[in-house]
Amino acid sequence: MSFIEAENLTHIYGQGTEQEFTALQDVSFHIEAGEFVAILGANGSGKSTLARHLNGLLLPTGGACRIAGLDTRSPQDIWQIRRQVGMVFQNPDNQLIAGVVEDDVAFGPENLGMEPAKIRQQVEMALQAVGMAEFRKFAPHLLSGGQKQRVAIAGALAMDTKCLILDEATAMLDPQGRREVMDTVERLHRERGLTLLCITHFMDEAARADRVLVMEHGRLVQQGTPAEVFADAPKLHKLGLAVPLAVELAWNLRQSGVDLPRDILSNDDLVAALEACYVH
């Protein structure tokens, strides 16, 4: 059993009405516990609709979606599912609700009916994990965008979430905020084996994943390692996507006769490869 299993997942908005719209069609994939998966796709390709199925915010109109073996359509399991799959959305100002950081992080555990002493422990653990412990008494509106997103992540961790879904969680952040959030979730992935699903338009973020899924018009059209997916730049451009800068530069330099390996993904890879083939 995989941690996330989508079988012929289909979602039709406004079924039977004039506005009927098929947002997901026959999407099937598995994600193992502890994996880091990026989901790419143009605006309107169904990425966010897909993400909202993974913790039961939306229910399939066809096919099935199982989290740790639990079907999202079964009402008695839905809280067990939401506890295990936390979501962080695009706008940092839309998801913090309390007047003080630690109250916000405690919101989830309180709703689960945890003991007060246990809640305090969980909140402390979660704030430490995202590097926000010193801000526990702050009002959220005094934080930067990246800090707000880290508080939102702490809210999920405090419920002992097994999986984090970032739905373009870095889209509204400045460069430093983006780096803060990505470094934090990657560390949690490495150190705690957190399963990570990252929906993004930033190709350099996707290049850091174990696996990349590509969506188009509600269908899953490609999946593979970043090296496999980014190898076909023309195909990605056709899908409205791009490749990371390092991939683009390496491709261009190879075209002009520089002998570079084909598996360059990150700036680190590119710098190392260029250094190696430069004759001083």
Partner: protein, 290 residues
């Protein structure tokens, strides 16, 4: 002609416990014909600043001058002039597509000019032109619902609504945020065309150092409500300390080139766009390939 800010100060919720100085003694000039980028940490005052450019917010101290006219003038004669001066500055908000509301695209774009009290024939002409300017075919789209479009197209309709009021200065708050790579590239190319062909002065807020490097000729850096720096992107990106302190970073291509330089490759670290970086790399390697 220009937009000029003179020692502008703005305070949110003054005389309450939540009082916060959002702009502090900001003076700057945006020359007509320029392409200006505004960058800074979230909460540094970028959005507050741009809302002063057409009088959506009025400073508590200091002046905003558009083409020589104080747009916050209080006296009777000054007020009418100020209204006309403000009309010269069009403003496209963040996620502008969320503000569309009319039944058809043409009606939505016509909303601004109609409020300006123009004749029907003039309005139609302006709608047609504005749609052309943002690359939407008039006959194909005019009677469609704006809500049937993709996010990127909806954002263009919102931009057309502002262009239909024929501003001289176009201010855009993070115009490409949330768009996929193609949508971003197309929209930024559209804005570049408006600048070159439409002769519009552009001011845009952005978190993308790549977009700023590619398009802007002037870069303003905000920090804690103050204007920290105003110079060309190349000059700003050359100052590592300034970038670090203000939450910004060099465009990725500069980061790569800097590391190559450190490793002893004779690359040109002043290249701020991927195209310029590639040219430099080609020069280095055409001589030195193994």
């Amino acid at each position: 002609m220009s937009i000029e800010l003179k020692t502008v100060k703005y305070i949110y919720m003054p005389k309450t416990p939540y009082e916060r100085v959002a702009l502090d003694d900001v003076s700057l000039t945006i020359e007509e014909g320029s392409f200006t980028a505004i960058a800074g940490h979230t909460g540094s005052g970028k959005s507050t600043l741009v809302q002063h450019l057409n009088g959506l917010l009025s400073p508590v101290a200091g002046e905003v001058i558009v083409d020589g006219i104080d747009i916050n003038a209080k006296d009777k004669a000054g007020k009418i002039k100020a209204w006309h001066a403000r009309q010269q500055v069009g403003m496209v908000f963040q996620y502008a597509e969320t503000q569309l509301f009319e039944e058809t695209i043409a009606q939505d774009i016509a909303f601004g000019p109609r409020n300006q009290g123009l004749e029907d024939a003039e309005i139609e002409e302006r709608v047609r032109q504005a749609m052309e300017m943002v690359g939407l075919d008039y006959h194909k789209f005019k009677d469609m619902s704006p809500f049937a479009l993709s996010g990127g197209q909806m954002r263009r309709v919102a931009m057309a609504g502002v262009l239909a009021m024929r501003p001289k200065y176009l201010v855009l708050d993070e115009p490409a945020a949330g768009l996929d790579p193609r949508g971003r590239e197309e929209l930024m190319a559209e804005i570049q065309r408006l600048h070159k062909k439409g002769k519009l002065t552009i001011v845009f807020v952005s978190h993308s150092m790549e977009d700023i490097a590619k398009m802007a000729d002037q870069m303003l850096v905000m920090q804690g409500g103050k204007l920290r720096a105003a110079a060309s992107p190349a000059e700003i990106f050359a100052q590592a300390g300034l970038l670090q302190e203000t939450g910004l970073e060099q465009p990725q291509i500069m980061q790569v080139l800097a590391r190559l330089k450190q490793a002893g490759l004779p690359v040109d670290t002043r290249a701020i766009t991927p195209e310029a970086g590639l040219r430099s790399l080609r020069e280095v390697f055409n001589i030195h390939v193994k």
